[in-house]
């Protein structure tokens, strides 16, 4: 068979596939009202085109033919094997099942990250409480003064007089700042886990030092009632982000029976579920922090009850959610 007769024989099929692909890929708007695209027709034509390409290559047909078939099969391949994985069904499945399961599956990283985050806070908190000057080992003078002013009894930022506009300002600020910290905590884990360790310990130390300092200054009432609610989401999320980072680092250090590359790819795939969850938790945290924690008119008793509920809910979610098959 000559290349020309080969082309003449299959020309119609190729044209049909080309026009179907053009429509699916939106490269050309059809004229009038053509019949709807039948996916199984594309698949059938694609398989035939693959066969014809293999034949054409084996017979060393001219370049223009190979080129056309190359482009045809490449386009169809993209259309047929495309993974559409992020729909609403996928999101619902992550929330109700995949996220808590992933956290439980990586429990050892989660506990390690929690320890790295909480222990520095527990050590530095009392230390700074008994010797307030130590706060300067973590932050500079200006920052310490700023925190003190933020939580002062008369401060506007916590107080009753804050208007709705600044709630929105703070929402934007918390999203940018906190989710940024969490993402950094995760991503820097690629450096053999060291980055995650650093960010966890540093943020834990910062938290402990500020808490100790403000308690010593006698601002505990405003400070704890402010942070306790959104902390349920924020602190947990940062620990989880750190845990995902530690997992990444560990997959590189101890790849087991895989190559380091394969091990990293597999770990990243599992970690990304946790990262989705962490981002969602931090958005909740930012909304709470901006619109609820800062509401000075809410009595402390109510704030602590709501906070208790959220802390319980978060732990219950990770303990029990998604245990059943399905």
């Amino acid at each position: 068979m000559t290349p020309l007769s080969f082309e003449a024989l299959y020309q119609e099929e190729w044209q049909e596939l080309e026009s179907l692909l053009d429509r699916v890929l939106g490269r050309r708007t059809p004229v009038g009202r053509p019949p709807p695209v039948r996916p199984e027709r594309i698949a059938a034509l694609y398989r035939r085109a693959c066969e014809q390409l293999a034949l054409a290559r084996a017979r060393s047909y001219p370049a223009y033919l190979l080129d056309r078939l190359d482009r045809l099969t490449a386009d169809a391949h993209q259309v047929i094997y495309q993974q559409r994985e992020l729909g609403f069904g996928m999101l619902a499945r992550i929330v109700t099942r995949d996220f808590p399961r992933a956290v439980r599956a990586d429990a050892r990283y989660v506990w390690l990250a929690t320890a790295l985050f909480v222990l520095p806070a527990l050590v530095l908190g009392p230390l700074v409480y008994f010797d307030p000057n130590l706060v300067l080992s973590v932050v500079d003078v200006a920052t310490a003064a700023q925190f003190e002013q933020m939580y002062a009894e008369s401060a506007e930022s916590i107080g009753r007089t804050r208007e709705a506009g600044s709630d929105w300002l703070m929402f934007g600020f918390y999203i940018r700042n906190n989710i940024g910290v969490a993402f950094q905590c995760f991503a820097s884990g690629l450096a053999a886990g060291l980055g995650s360790v650093f960010y966890l310990v540093y943020n834990g130390a910062l938290l402990g030092a500020i808490a100790g300092y403000l308690t010593e200054r006698g601002l505990s009432a405003t400070f704890y009632s402010f942070v306790v609610t959104h902390a349920a989401f924020e602190l947990t999320a940062i620990a989880l982000a750190g845990a995902a980072g530690l997992k990444l680092g560990h997959s590189l250090l101890a790849p087991g029976r895989r190559t380091r590359g394969q091990s990293l790819v597999a770990a990243a795939k599992e970690c990304v579920v946790i990262v989705y969850g962490v981002a969602a938790m931090l958005i909740i945290a930012a909304a709470l922090e901006a619109f609820w924690s800062s509401a000075g008119w809410v009595p402390h008793a109510i704030k602590y009850s709501v906070a208790g509920f959220f802390w319980f809910a978060v732990f219950a979610y990770f303990t029990w959610q998604g245990r059943r098959e399905g």
Binding site: L66, G172, F186, S188, A191, V272
Partner: protein, 239 residues
Amino acid sequence: MRTAVAPDVLDTAVAAETPEGILLELRPAGLAARFYAFLLDWVIRFVVGYAVALVLILFMGNVGVGIVLLLYFVFEWFYPVIFELSRSGATPGKSLVGLKVVMDNGLPVTPAASLTRNLLRVADFLPFAFGAAIVTMLLRRDCKRLGDLAAATLVVHQPQRPLKTRLEGVPPVVPARSLTPADQAALVALAARAPTLTVERLDELAALAAVVSGDGGRVGPNATRRVLGVAQWALGKRV
């Protein structure tokens, strides 16, 4: 069928095999192309961010500042993700340079992979000024940065439409021996470049390929014409 590229050939092409046994050729983009794309994206984000911030803060006060901060957050972390998941598979900067992001197997990038490679940009930045990214990209044949390694993605040159060949009036010549697809592609590429070469240089290059038309060892306009004739044949012209 094109066989695997010999290791001593200076070619970075990666072949991805489909379940149907067809090899797709991917051409990973190098450091320079990706740097230009990054620079363009940076400029686009800066200009858009600055303009939007100006308007929002002027007209909406504190709420505007809040929205601007949200917007900066989205720009910082999700600008690449959003564009990579669109049909083009590329940020505006990458589109302008002619790059796109695909999975290792040549498929469109998945949401999880896009998020992974863009979050891990932080690790690529270490220790400073994208040091880790530059070193890994220079060391690897497929020019992946750390984020690409973890997400199993590749940044490739978008397949180029072949150069238009202008061979009107060149009569096709049946090749004197069978030509592999690579040989034919080389001839067609020579024909496409012919208008940009000086006559002398074209003769020189055509002489190297003159065996295909059976005039091995001959140099000159006639030999060149016959070599281009074989290219014409490879392009499907008969008669």
